[in-house]
Symmetry: C2
Subunit: 208 residues, 2 copies
DNA sequence: AGGCTAAACGGACCGCAGTCCGCTTTCTAT
DNA sequence: ATAGAAAGCGGACTGCGGTCCGTTTAGCCT
């Protein structure tokens, strides 16, 4: 017997076959082109497959679903954004005081979310990505809130601060209620200051 | 000439023909049965039409789209809920102090949203209904915040407090992160107290 | 080189949302 | 009662997301 297929120890998921890798490239390129060129709604699975010169089944093999494909497109900019939060220049990146970082975080997130609005909507709640993106942001906000000396249920507080930055809320405000972006940003600043400052005045309206 | 068709003065939208009314009834009944019986995802337009004994086109004539149909189903419970906010017993209805009403509002909204989660998701952002529902809740929260002496951008503050009660956030928390509902409710209480109490300590962390 | 296997491929196929248009019913005015 | 017109109706049709399965191909082992 000869049982060793590439040291399965810690191999994680097996590597990708060369044709598969080539097709994933071609598909991402095709999808990107379609988005830039005709808008998100023109990105049908058939169109992407045809443009990449592969069969439809292949698209589904690489990216679970249409939402998965959109999530993959989003991945580039999302990763770049995370990097600039983790190691970019202040005040978004490390180096500024926590409150300034938090406010910069909010502004930045509002802007990126609005920029990729259609894509985010199309990506929906595509399991992995949505969860990863959310949990990164939530982790960061939890960290900053703790730095700021906030007590209480910090995980849920973080989620609550993040909720008004979700694309569905932002689009309601900008597209339907015609609220200018900088007003939304100022209002988030205010919200954050209110939440954080409560810990500077304990016993305000009931213990927590 | 004989031009008077039922006093168009203030007539609003013309009344419904009797067969149309009958069919709308039948369709709502069929849809409700399907939801109770097989779940929301079993409510296909063909199934509803067939069960009501009408053609598919008729479904679309009455309710713009699938989302519109779902919104119509939601309408019953939504209206009842609005009534209990406007004129039900305290603390949700009028009579209790504003803070108690606000906290009761949050708990009630969390529970109803979770109860009708699938339906709300299926109804999506179906123009009219979603907007009406949101704006009712927003109006109520704006009113209570004002009563509580909150200063600042109250409209957006209200939206920000409502955002964590949206179904997409609640389902993330309960279904994926396994957070128990009463913890979410307590966290919202805390959030509201923080936001409101900031006005009791002006100059907290920067003017607004 | 040659062959073996697992992975990848492609496109026919299915179900459902939404549209379209020729036919039928209701209502009203005579 | 009856005729005319507007509103309603129904189901065939289109387009898209997603699945399935017989065929092809890359990578490895001898």
């Amino acid at each position: 017997m000869s049982e060793h297929r590439s040291l399965p120890l810690l191999g994680g998921p097996p590597p990708e076959r060369s044709d598969a890798a080539r097709n994933r490239e071609a598909l991402l390129r095709a999808a990107t082109d379609l988005v830039d060129h005709c808008g998100v709604e023109a990105v049908t699975m058939d169109a992407v497959a045809a443009r990449a010169g592969v069969g439809k089944g292949t698209v589904y093999r690489r990216f679970e679903s249409r939402e998965g494909l959109m999530a993959a497109l989003l991945n580039h900019s999302e990763t770049a954004w995370q990097a600039s939060v983790l190691s970019g220049p202040p005040p978004l990146g490390p180096g500024a005081p926590p409150m300034e970082r938090l406010l910069a975080f909010g502004r930045s997130r509002i802007e990126t979310n609005l920029k990729h609005g259609d894509l985010i909507t199309a990506a929906g709640h595509s399991g992995a990505r949505a969860y990863a993106a959310m949990s990164f942001a939530a982790m960061h906000v939890r960290y900053l809130l703790t730095q700021l000396g906030v007590h209480g249920d910090v995980p849920i507080l973080a989620t609550s601060l993040l909720a008004p930055l979700e694309i569905v809320i932002l689009q309601q405000q900008t597209h339907i209620e015609q609220i200018p972006v900088d007003r939304i940003e100022r209002a988030w600043d205010d919200l954050v200051r209110r939440v954080v400052s409560a810990d500077a005045h304990p016993g305000a309206a009931g213990r927590r």
